[in-house]
Structure formats: structure tokens, C-alpha cells
């Protein structure tokens, strides 16, 4: 994959730096631009800059010549600055999210019980999302494709962020996370790797199977939802939030996947598209239990101080992904309302 086209001063700073200097240390991209970011959660330039810096830790870019860019100290400074702003915005969003849940202490006797109850409660409230309902009943083929394109930024890298957490936790929580990841990674079968299942779904619709074209058009909110996982997974101090995020993600996946599957059937989309969502109905019903009871409960039993972070990560997942969903729905709405040209 090649570096994406920048779309503002922040992503331009990062891209120019990575392109211009074949070897590090790289200059810190223009810090002034950061002051212009008013709402990082949907700011595409901001999120793209952060996404590019994170990508150096995943598969990287063909046109970044210096393999050491990943750990370049000055790029780390840039990443840390972007992360600080992003984390602050996420915490603010979480604080604004209406909490009708009782305090953790009132939800059970042990941290494990409390966290389990909080996660179950928090995810029970959300029925199938508006996006899933739209895809189920109303979406056109084109709209369905645009959904796949938007989600490709995550699904082509599905579950990779959480793998960074494995060495950061221990005992039963580690075992449970490994078990969940094993399933995500195909359960020993390369052809069942979830990333591959998604690529196959894209290919069946004659859509590209590499990430670059999707990153090029993804909204700021979509990049934010992917960056959130990297933020939590790549910072050891946020490991609790990473696992809370995973639990909320899995627990709100099965029912929507069923809806999306029905939408795909309604539209007569190819088998490979149906297969991806079909796989996730059952898989995520399992993963939800493993993530809540296996990973999160065991994690806070081991490290009780992480309980509030687990809840933070779960709340952040629902809020940020909710935001990305709203942006997507809004784009469908406005396109449907737009007067037909000509």
C-alpha cells in the first residue's frame, strides 16, 4: 500500500515528512495546525494523520523507504500529540454520554461481577443499529456497497489491533483473548481468516481488496472508530479500555450482522457477502461471552483498578461507532434527498 493523499495540514505534515526524508530522524510535522482542529472525532485530516502514524505499526507503506520510521522518536512525538488530543475528545464524548447505569460498586460484590453486569447492561440497551436496520430493509445495492467500502478500513484488518494487547495482560484473560483471536484468525484455517472472508466479499462485488482505495475515501468518523482501537491497544496503560471496547464491539455485533445478512439476501448479493455476515452471527454470539466473561471479568479480577477503564472503553466504542454510523446514515439520506442532476 502507498501513502494516502493528504487532506489538510496535519496529514500533509505526516505524509510530506515520510516521503521527503528517506531516513530519520524525521522532523515533527507542523504543530501549529493542531490548534485548528475543533472536533477531532470527525476531522478527517486529523484522523488520517493519526491513522498513517498507526499504520506504520501494522503493515506500513511501500513508499516509506525507512523501515525505522515505525519507531522514529520524532514521529512518536507527533503521534503522542495527536493521541493526547484524540483521547481527550473521546473522554469528553464518554462524559457527555447519558449514563442511566448505577455506579460500578452497586452492580455486584466483586470487580468481576460489577464489570460483567455493567457490560451486559450497557450493550443490552442497543437494539440493532439504525445502520443495520437500513441495510436490512431499505438500502440499495449501491448503498450496500458504500457500507462495505466504509467498513473495509476496519474489516481488512479485523482483530489486528487487539492482538497487541496479548502480551500486556496475563492469566485467564490472556488465554480467553487468545481463544477469541484464534477464532477471528480462522481457527487454524487460512481460508476462514475473517479478514480474508471480507476481502472475498469485496471481490465478489468486483470491489478492490486492498486497503488503500478505502482509506482514500473513508470519513473522519470511520477513521476515528478504527484509530480508537489502535489508541487503546497500542498504549499499555489503556489495556483495560481496549478489552472493554472489544467486549462492547462483540456484544453489539451478532444481531446487526443478522440484519445485514438479510439485507444482502434481499438484494441478492453474492454468496461471499452473505457468508461473511453469516459467519459473524454465530461467531460474535460466542465472542461476546468470551469477551465479557472470559476476558474482561478475568482481567479485573487480576487487576481490579482497571474496572473503570474497561467501562470507559466499552462506552467509547458505542459512542464513537455510533457517531460513525450517524455520519454514514446522513450521507445516504442527503444523497437520496439530492435533486437529480440534469
Amino acid at each position: 500500500m502507498r501513502l494516502p493523499e493528504p487532506c489538510g495540514p496535519l496529514s500533509e505534515g505526516v505524509v510530506e515528512t515520510l516521503r521527503a526524508q528517506p531516513v530519520g530522524p524525521h522532523a515533527v510535522p507542523e504543530p501549529r495546525a493542531m490548534g485548528d482542529v475543533t472536533y477531532p472525532l470527525t476531522d478527517r485530516d486529523f484522523q488520517l494523520a493519526l491513522w498513517i502514524l498507526y499504520e506504520l505499526h501494522y503493515r506500513g507503506f511501500d513508499d516509506v523507504e525507512d523501515p525505522r520510521a515505525e519507531w522514529d522518536p520524532l514521529l512518536m512525538v507527533s503521534r503522542a500529540a495527536l493521541e493526547r488530543t484524540y483521547e481527550h475528545a473521546v473522554r469528553e464524548l464518554v462524559a457527555e454520554t447519558p449514563q442511566d447505569a448505577p455506579a460500578l460498586e452497586d452492580l455486584g460484590d466483586t470487580p468481576a461481577e460489577q464489570v460483567t453486569a455493567a457490560l451486559v447492561r450497557m450493550t443490552a440497551r442497543s437494539g440493532p443499529s439504525d445502520v443495520a436496520q437500513f441495510l436490512h430493509r431499505r438500502a440499495s445495492r449501491e448503498e450496500f456497497r458504500s457500507y462495505l467500502a466504509e467498513r473495509a478500513v476496519y474489516h481488512l484488518r479485523e482483530s489486528d489491533p487487539q492482538s497487541f494487547v496479548l502480551p500486556r495482560i496475563g492469566g485467564a484473560a490472556k488465554v480467553a483473548l487468545a481463544e477469541l483471536q484464534y477464532d477471528e484468525y480462522g481457527g487454524g484455517r487460512a481460508d476462514r481468516l475473517h479478514q480474508t472472508l471480507f476481502a472475498r466479499a469485496l471481490a465478489s462485488l468486483e470491489m478492490p481488496t486492498d486497503l488503500a482505495p478505502y482509506v482514500a475515501q473513508a470519513t473522519g468518523a470511520t477513521l476515528a472508530s478504527v484509530n480508537l482501537m489502535s489508541l487503546f491497544a497500542l498504549n499499555r496503560r489503556l489495556r483495560g479500555a481496549a478489552m472493554g471496547h472489544l467486549a462492547a464491539f462483540e456484544a453489539t455485533s451478532s444481531l446487526p450482522c443478522e440484519r445485514i445478512l438479510r439485507g444482502a439476501r434481499r438484494l441478492g448479493l453474492p454468496e461471499a457477502v452473505q457468508d461473511y455476515y453469516d459467519e459473524h452471527v454465530e461467531a460474535d454470539a460466542v465472542h461476546e461471552q468470551v469477551a465479557i466473561r472470559g476476558i474482561c471479568a478475568a482481567l479485573v479480577e487480576d487487576e481490579p483498578d482497571l474496572a473503570p477503564d474497561v467501562v470507559l472503553g466499552a462506552t467509547a466504542c458505542l459512542a464513537v461507532d455510533g457517531l460513525a454510523g450517524e455520519v454514514l446514515l446522513e450521507s445516504w439520506r442527503s444523497r437520496r434527498d439530492a435533486p437529480v442532476a440534469g
Binding site: D183, A285, E288
Partner: protein, 66 residues
């Protein structure tokens, strides 16, 4: 090699997680092959993918009429 064990874990309000099984036999005698390391077996009776849990236990609107 250690001896293989089948382990069943209770998830209150949800399914039973089963590890290490080869098949699950439904009340009507039909057998479903276990194709993943862990499976969730429905206990609420509302799944549309019996014997597997499809998360319907958390969808309050999909409760089957008695």
C-alpha cells in the same frame, strides 16, 4: 498428549459455552457438528439457528409468544 476434556461454561441469561465437543444433538435428534473451538449453545429457546445461540436472548422484542 493430555486427554481431551469437554468443558461447559454457564453464561447467566445467555447461552452455554461449550469447549471440546464434536457435536451437539438437538431435542429432535438432529445433530449439529461443532466447527469452532468454542461454541455457544442456545438455552433461551429464541435462537433462529438452533442449537446455536444467535444473540436473540438479548433482543427483548423478539420474544416468542408462549
Amino acid at each position: 498428549m493430555s486427554e481431551r476434556r469437554v468443558v461447559v461454561t454457564d453464561c447467566p441469561g445467555g447461552p452455554l459455552l461449550v469447549r471440546g465437543a464434536d457435536e451437539v444433538v438437538g431435542v429432535d435428534g438432529t445433530s449439529a457438528a461443532v466447527e469452532r473451538a468454542v461454541v455457544a449453545v442456545c438455552r433461551c429457546g429464541r435462537s433462529e439457528r438452533m442449537p446455536w445461540c444467535d444473540d436473540s436472548h438479548r433482543d427483548r422484542r423478539r420474544r416468542k409468544k408462549p
